[in-house]
């Protein structure tokens, strides 16, 4: 028994380090966060400094990644695009986490019609493809960064509600949770003391994945002209603007495309690594 416990503890730390995907994911995500943080206090140029005479230049000392079709610094715009993406991810996942997890926990704790309502409600919202719901919401309330974030947040709600409900119901089935009730704890106290801590790893993994989904969704909305509005930079918007310049200057499309791909890849690898390490079910399977 003690041997198993020991392997488990040493297992997940060394496993993380031995997990190349997790390492790559951490590095990519770390870079994304670092770039975003730096852009808050410093960028090489102003993001909207137009200089037509210097448009579509290659990389140089003044413009590390060159300039776009208006002569604006691409590095600057990618940096601000990164903070924009992170902001969208944090807020949208935050909305989903807070509302979705509350609903999921409530459903698992109360059961009965509350459970049915949450489960069926999630199914209904889930039936609409996420990006379609987001387009619908921005079409009704108007395009803009804030509405895009809210739209992405809303389609995150059922995702977290489902995950939280499923995981919480599993924990509720455990003897220690029922024992909590037997010794007189209220369902909300059991939820707080036993359920939430036990499903936290699943939520963290899901949050990482949803973060990547949110970044992708924001890029898609901005590409469609429904997200961040010009001249504010957004990766999706940059990609859209680059479309007709593809043959003249491919870097205009490649750079924001690469930024989106790397950010999403990083977050997904991080999520995979975390799942392997944190998810109790996977862990016991591996040890078993």
């Amino acid at each position: 028994m003690s041997i198993i416990a020991d392997t488990t503890r040493r297992g997940w730390k060394s496993q993380l380090l031995r997990h190349p995907n997790f390492l790559i994911g951490t590095v990519l995500t770390g870079m994304l966060i670092l770039v975003a943080l730096v852009s808050l206090v410093w960028t090489p140029h102003a993001f909207d400094a137009v200089a037509i005479t210097q448009r579509m230049q290659g990389p140089s000392a003044a413009h590390w990644l060159g300039t776009d079709h208006f002569g604006r610094d691409i590095a600057t715009r990618l940096m601000i695009g990164a903070s924009n993406s992170i902001m969208v991810g944090v807020v949208a996942v935050g909305i989903g986490l807070v509302i979705g997890v509350s609903l999921g926990l409530l459903a698992a704790a109360r059961g009965g019609w509350v459970d049915d309502l949450v489960a069926r409600g999630s199914d209904v919202v889930f039936a609409f493809p996420a990006i379609v719901s987001a387009i619908l919401i921005t079409a009704i309330f108007g395009p803009g960064a804030v509405n895009a974030i809210i739209a992405i947040g809303i389609f995150n709600v059922p995702v977290f509600a489902r995950v939280a409900r499923g995981a919480a119901r599993q924990v509720w089935g455990q003897e220690y949770a029922r024992a909590g009730l037997a010794i007189g704890k209220s369902p909300s106290a059991v939820t707080r003391d036993h359920i939430l801590p036990n499903i936290a790893p699943v939520l963290i993994v899901q949050a990482t994945i949803q973060f990547a989904v949110a970044i992708l969704a924001e890029a898609a909305l901005a590409y469609l002209g429904l997200g961040t509005q010009p001249p504010a930079p957004s990766w999706g918007r940059m990609l859209f603007d680059a479309q007709t310049f593809m043959t003249l200057d491919p870097k205009l499309a490649i750079l924001p495309g690469l930024a989106i791909a790397l950010a999403v890849l990083g977050l997904n690898l991080l999520g995979d690594g975390l799942r392997d390490a944190l998810d109790p079910r996977l862990r016991t399977e591996r040890i078993g």
Partner: protein
């Protein structure tokens, strides 16, 4: 073994047949597919302002007494000749013989009376009623002779009659022209697949082009992809100027850069504070750098203008030097007007010139100390909010009607500009038929609006036509809104 050989032979034969078919088609190609950016709301050019209507039906489906050609000159159409009385008040038109509407009915002088009376009637929904303002009566002298009597001389009457808004329609079909247009043109309406395409077919089997399809491709990159894939043969005005450079180098395509009647302006709401202060408007005019906008938004395609007039018109006055690019002067004018931290909104309709030009204008105004919030809008919103509701500070739009400086003298127009002196000039213009005198008045009108800095005048829109090599007879210029395919053929 034998079966296999037969199978192989069939495969080879069918492969050959497959290869041979497109070649045979190319040799005797008699169809044409044109890509259009916008789908028209309906197809009656006498009942709507949408350029997309004329881009399909003008000259192809509907004809007027006169027509405007590629160079903006007036040519005879349904009227084969005309006489003008010495005082310039009576026009007598001799009509072409044997012209039939697509429903088989004859075209005669009664149709002229009906069409023009309908267009200028009090309850008419014609978008350009001012074209007919000088007409007093229209009469049918006999079946082939129509007489128009004016209440005052109108130097532009023959030109006006060549607009899409002045085409001839039949009494029997006028009410249903929106969905089932019946005209006298060489092409008749075949079918309309909503959201996709409109097809016209030739009325005469001997025409070089027998079938014309107008396909709606709103996105410029999709237009280029469709051109390259061979899905469309021509785009009469490409919205992606940056792609023109690559297409010019492509041996499969011909690129024709021509002029349009589109004065592209940064319009200002003249009645809304602080834009009601001429110094603020002049500051904005000084803040913009026309060449940078042309280079940045249109890749250099476009001609700078200093007033609301086409540079290729003989009456054009070069007023570019009135407001040279000078951010320091702009700041001084703003300080003069007591505007230290000016914030304005800029509503941008979908075309490239507006969306891209707007981003550059915003950056240029920022340099002069004006903060601009960009609000992209769709055409419907633009018409509703800006054009009809005049709920805007700044907007960018191209005014594509020929010689349309008269809009500045209208009582209600979205500029909210009210100038008695300009109205007096336009009234004088209406009573002048001598061309030199008209040009002088038009020159004075240009100076008036520029010195009042009603709008900031940016550039004359270029027409960037792209079509497959071998297609001849497409228009280079766009003197009126049209995709005239009546002279088009494959070589």
């Amino acid at each position: 073994m034998k079966t296999m050989r037969i199978a192989a032979a069939i495969a080879v034969a069918s492969g050959l047949a497959f290869l041979a078919t497109p070649g045979a088609q190319a040799q005797q190609k008699d169809s044409l597919t044109i890509g259009l950016t916008l789908e028209p709301p309906h197809l009656d050019p006498t009942a709507g302002a949408a350029a997309a209507i004329d881009e399909i039906v003008y000259a192809n489906l509907f004809e007027g007494l006169t027509r405007i050609d590629d160079n903006g000159a007036v040519q005879p159409q349904l009227a084969e000749s005309w006489d003008v009385s010495g005082d310039g008040l009576v026009y007598t038109f001799t009509l072409q013989d044997g012209v039939k509407f697509h429903d088989g009915t004859n075209f005669d002088a009664d149709d002229v009376v009906f069409s023009l009376d309908r267009a200028r009637a009090d309850g008419s929904v014609n978008a350009q009623k001012q074209l007919f303002a000088a007409i007093d009566t229209v009469e049918a002298v006999d079946a082939r002779t129509a007489r128009i009597t004016l209440s005052r001389p109108e130097g532009a009457l023959l030109f006006n009659l060549g607009w899409g808004d002045a085409v001839m329609v039949a009494r029997e079909s006028a009410a249903t022209n929106k969905v089932a247009p019946i005209g006298t043109g060489p092409f008749k309406f075949d079918r309309w697949v909503r959201g996709s395409q409109i097809r016209l077919v030739a009325t005469d089997d001997t025409r070089a082009i027998r079938k014309v399809t107008f396909r709606f491709v709103p996105d410029p990159s999709a237009q280029i992809a469709a051109l390259k894939a061979g899905d469309i043969d021509a785009v009469s005005n490409l919205q992606a100027p940056e792609a023109v450079i690559a297409l010019q180098a492509d041996p499969n395509f011909e690129v024709a850069i021509g002029s349009t009647e589109g004065e592209t302006i940064l319009a200002m709401n003249n009645s809304r504070a602080p834009l009601n202060d001429i110094r603020v408007r002049q500051a904005i005019a000084h803040a913009i750098d026309r060449q940078a906008i042309i280079d940045g938004a249109m890749f250099g395609f476009g001609t700078p203008i200093g007033t609301h007039f086409a540079p290729h018109h003989p009456a054009y006055v070069d007023l570019i030097a009135t407001y040279p690019h000078d951010p320091a002067r702009a700041r001084a004018l703003l300080a003069d007007a007591g505007q230290s931290d000016l914030k304005l909104t800029l509503k941008l309709p979908p075309p490239t010139y507006a969306r891209r030009g707007g981003e550059i204008v915003a950056a240029q105004l920022k340099e002069a100390g004006i903060t601009v919030e960009i609000i992209p809008v769709e055409w419907a919103q633009w018409l509703e909010q800006v054009f009809r509701g005049t709920d805007y500070d700044l907007t960018i739009v191209s005014h594509t009607e020929p010689v349309d400086i008269g809009i500045y003298a209208r009582d209600t127009y979205y500029f909210n500009y009210d100038s008695p002196s300009l109205k007096a000039l336009m009234a004088r213009l209406n009573n002048t038929s001598d061309q030199a005198a008209r040009n002088r008045i038009l020159g004075q009108a240009q100076r008036t609006i520029t010195s009042d800095s009603v709008s900031a005048y940016m550039f004359q829109l270029a027409k960037l036509g792209v079509w497959r090599k071998g297609l001849k007879g497409m228009w280079r210029n766009a003197p009126v809104q049209a995709t005239d395919v009546t002279g088009v053929r494959w070589e």
